[in-house]
């Protein structure tokens, strides 16, 4: 009985023709003399036969296939327009130059960003200083990343 339970996993493989010839021979010999395994094997067979019957798909008509085919052609034509230069059609020279172009494009972007950031950067503003005999007051804007629009006020005795 315990042996039969271990063999049960292989009964399916026997039914499916997935055992090697020696294993198949041994298992067939066992099944021939074992009522439990024979009944389990038959039960698998009935299950699959009934499952096939329960799931038989109705055949689409030629018109329906035509509609599906047209839908695919339309989608595929759209895809071809989107991918105007498919990978498989690139010449070897272009394939080889693609990384170089990509690198050059990255360098150009970095240089442009660098130039723009220099152009846009405001020169550091000198602090406003108010002084009297007793006090000196320095008013200095903080860096934007610290606190947007905040001022630093320093008061010192003269």
């Amino acid at each position: 009985m315990g042996g039969c339970d271990k063999l049960e996993l292989k009964l399916g493989a026997l039914l499916d023709g997935e055992l090697d010839s020696q294993e198949e021979q041994e298992l067939r010999a066992h099944v021939a003399g074992c009522h439990l395994c024979r009944s389990r094997l038959q039960s698998f067979q009935v299950l699959e036969r009934e499952a096939v019957a329960a799931f038989r798909a109705p055949e689409p008509t030629e018109n329906e296939w035509g509609r599906i085919g047209a839908g695919i052609r339309e989608a595929v034509a759209g895809a071809r327009k989107t991918v105007a230069f498919p990978r498989a059609q690139r010449s070897p020279l272009i394939e080889a130059l693609v990384p170089a172009f990509a690198l050059a494009a990255c360098l150009v972007i970095v240089v442009v960003i660098g130039i723009l950031s220099r152009v846009n950067r405001e020169p550091p503003r000198a602090p406003d200083v108010y002084s009297s005999k007793e006090y000196e007051i320095r008013v200095e804007p903080l860096a934007p990343e610290d606190e947007d629009g905040a001022l630093w006020i320093e008061v010192t005795r003269g």
Binding site: L47, E50, V76
Partner: protein
């Protein structure tokens, strides 16, 4: 050997398609449309949705063709797309398969298959109930167990092919299939077996 030839033909068509010949893809569509539709039908369980999934699978396959590894088989790659798409479709629409198919599928099948059917109305009802039970039981399996059962029992793929489609080992296929069968036997106790 015959399989190898078929695989080589598929690969040739894939190459032609990538080289810019869309007719080559039409050949692949005509070759596999029935199998993909049939697989989709096992999941969505009505004709219109199965056709929609089929169309989507081929469109996605075309779009992903450049990523197809020519070392693998085209149809297992296509099956993988189909399984994933069908599972997503069922999740998205929250289809209750056993209900839809019982209403639509059996009528379609009755029109199409004039084969021996029981003349006894009570027995015919039993058959209908049995099919409904089976669909319901298969619908209750987890995605991974249902996929293995459908690919093997209904689509006749070998363990090796299923392993390629699902992306697991042959041993895993065997154990998932075993679990699926045991689960179905339990669910269908008194009806089948």
């Amino acid at each position: 050997m015959a399989h190898d030839l078929l695989d080589a033909e598929d690969l040739q068509k894939v190459r032609e398609c990538l080289a810019g010949n869309p007719d080559a893809f039409e050949v692949l569509f005509n070759k596999y449309r029935g199998r993909i539709y049939s697989l989709a039908y096992r999941y969505v369980q009505n004709k219109e949705d199965a056709l929609e999934v089929t169309q989507d699978v081929f469109v996605r396959a075309y779009q992903a063709l450049a990523s197809f590894q020519t070392g693998s088989k085209f149809y297992t790659w296509l099956y993988r797309i189909a399984v994933n798409r069908a599972i997503d479709f069922v999740r998205a629409r929250r289809v209750r398969p056993q209900i839809e198919m019982s209403e639509i599928g059996d009528e379609d099948l009755a029109r199409q298959s004039p084969g021996p059917r029981s003349p006894d109305p009570a027995k015919a009802l039993d058959e209908k109930e049995l099919r409904q039970k089976i669909r319901s039981a298969i619908g209750k399996l987890s995605d991974k167990h249902r996929t293995v059962f459908v690919l093997h029992a209904l689509e006749n793929l070998s363990y090796k092919e299923i392993a390629e489609v699902v992306g697991c080992s042959i041993g895993t296929v065997m154990s998932r299939l075993f679990y699926a069968r045991k689960r179905l036997q339990k669910e269908l106790a008194g009806y089948v077996g």
